[in-house]
């Protein structure tokens, strides 16, 4: 855990998504070249969501198979004569059930995308924590541990509810701690992840937006800020401003522009034709603030937010 004194924006265990929206925890992976690459850690909620989706598929599979059995023209078969066919169908059914119960997660995670369908929907995937290839052994270990993390608590819960007494209840609580392990560690890793040496990370499809700081246009518009006005804010506010400008909601922009104008003591020009639009004003302020903060940054002087001292 990061010490509370560390400014959050400078804490390199945190990062933001492509929209610059909110800060998320990062898992560092050291690649074989020795580069520390930040990966956004998948949250417990994302992982639970993916698991529920996968589990729905696992439950739906036998139902689908049985439906298929009724749809296909099997009523034409004389079961007394085609005994072998019945056996083969039963074997196929058992095999399929076995695969779904035991092999589903392993097979998908060994694939090129290293993610089950549920994980793909939530844009998360499995990676090797040591920075190397994700090997089949890792995938197998992390998924076999599901037995103690999911099926065992479930069984024990059933036993508790059927009057298993204190023993069942305490065993259930113990295994529940194992199941909820992701909530109690920084990497949000479950037991299988620790044993397999894997982590689950969030990999959204990110696009590169335009650079919002258009100093050329700002010079033409003639909006200027004094140093004192710019120093009213820090990096955190710059991030919020970027988010507002990328979303471009008129109501939000108007509200933010009003607040900034009040805080920095900005006077709109007397001539109403010269009053910049909210967006133009915000963009100019963004560019000025970013230019200022980045130039200080080059000197190693960073200011996390407006409450931080001016450096």
């Amino acid at each position: 855990m990061a010490a509370p004194k560390t400014p959050p924006i400078l804490d390199d265990t945190l990062s933001f998504d492509a929209q610059g929206k909110y800060q998320r925890r990062v898992t560092y992976i050291t690649t074989p070249e020795g580069v520390r690459l930040p990966f956004i850690t998948a949250t417990f909620a994302e992982r639970l969501g993916a698991f529920i989706l996968d589990y729905l598929i696992i439950i739906a599979a036998p139902v689908a198979l049985i439906l298929l059995f009724f749809i296909l023209p099997f009523e034409q078969v004389d079961w007394k004569r085609a005994k072998g066919l019945g056996d083969i169908l039963m074997i196929l059914f058992f095999m399929a059930m076995f695969f779904v119960r035991t092999g589903y997660f392993m097979a998908f995670e060994m694939g090129p995308r290293a993610a089950t369908p549920g994980k793909r929907v939530l844009k998360i995937r499995v990676i090797a924590h040591d920075g190397g290839h994700l090997t089949p052994v890792m995938v197998i270990t992390r998924n076999m541990l599901r037995e103690v993390e999911f099926y065992l608590p479930l069984t024990l819960m059933g036993m508790t509810m059927q009057g298993g007494g204190w023993v069942a209840l305490s065993a259930f609580l113990w295994t529940l701690v194992l199941a909820l392990l992701p909530l109690f560690n920084r990497d949000q890793a479950r037991l299988g992840d620790f044993l397999g040496g894997t982590r689950v990370v969030h990999m959204p499809r990110q696009s590169l937006g335009i650079d919002l700081a258009d100093t050329e246009a700002d010079r033409r518009s003639g909006i200027m800020f004094s140093r004192a006005q710019i120093e009213a804010y820090g990096e955190k506010e710059l991030g919020v401003l970027e988010e507002v400008l990328r979303e471009r909601r008129p109501a939000t922009m108007a509200a933010v522009a009003t607040r900034i104008k009040t805080r920095i003591g900005w006077d709109d020009p007397k001539n109403t034709n010269d009053v910049p639009t909210d967006e133009a004003f915000l963009r100019a302020f963004y560019a000025a603030l970013r230019a200022h903060l980045e130039s200080r940054m080059l000197l190693g002087k960073r200011r996390k937010d407006k409450h931080d001292e001016v450096r």
């Binding site: 990062s15 059930m97 035991t102 089949p136 052994v137 076999m144 037995e147 103690v148 937006g209 080059l298």
Partner: protein, 346 residues
Amino acid sequence: MSDEDPAKPALQLKSQKFRDAREKDWRTLSRALDRLDQGKLNSFSTDELLNLPVLYRSAVSSLSMARSISLDRNLIGYLQGLCARAYMGIYGPHARFKDILTGYFGRQWPESVRRIGPEFLLSLACLVIGIVAGWLLCAGDQSWYSALVGEDMSGGRNLSASAADLKKTLEGSTDGLAVFSVFLMSHNTQVSIFAFALGVIAGIPTALLILHNGMLLGAMLWLFARQGLLVDFAGWLSIHGTTELLAIVLAGAAGFHMARRIMFPGNLTRKAALVDAGKLTGSVMLGVAIMLLLAGLLEGFGRQLITDTSARFGIGAVMLVTWTVYFTQVGRRLTLKFEEADHGRA
């Protein structure tokens, strides 16, 4: 770009110049990764392939640069995603299938099994004690049999069955038995995975599980012995049983190993010990799954087609010898080399 327009440079931020200069490379890399994701690796020319790691490294260096000079969150987020994707593209799960196979069967699997030798003996002891206990319990009091062997596992092999009935269950017949075999195979795999996973909880449940399975077997042995069919039953069992029981014992051993490493991590931190143990036991368990599949095939086909007891014993013995030789001998020289290399480094 910025140099072409003499009026502009003074007003451009350093982070913007940086972005202008490198954006083209990022876009190229992103497009290449899209093609990789679509599985079009074969459509890459040699130059493009050679260029890929270069682009990857330049993107990674761009990221660390951007983190220290730019406050554009969108840019940093994009680069982070790009680098992560590129890393996946280059270090993803795709290794050459043949290399994985030879590496695993030629070295990794037997070596892992050898490394959990003491735990293997413990697990084997649990099974043997279970068998003996199961037999003795049933011999002492018949009612133990139905308590140990549930209805779904017995398949008609209960106390009231006559010698003829029991003999019939040992014969090769395809009547539903193939289905039963597949059911047993999936059951056994589940048992072994469970035995392994329970190792996390100090290993005691693993021991209990192995003991219970041993007792089940002991009880059945007793039932058949009572009717004078011990040899026939042992033959029926050995054709697949040597493989299957070995697999279950190995799974238990893997569970014990995990328990030991969690409780006594030695010189490593507990987390590091856990990862280490996970890798080792994971390799064992992958093999266990393969062994159980093989056992299922032997059970489903071999046992139905081969009804002669001595032939069944023969196959069972051959399998046992094969496994013993495989686990004790294969990959030894390579292991030695690795150890030497490790010592050399230290």
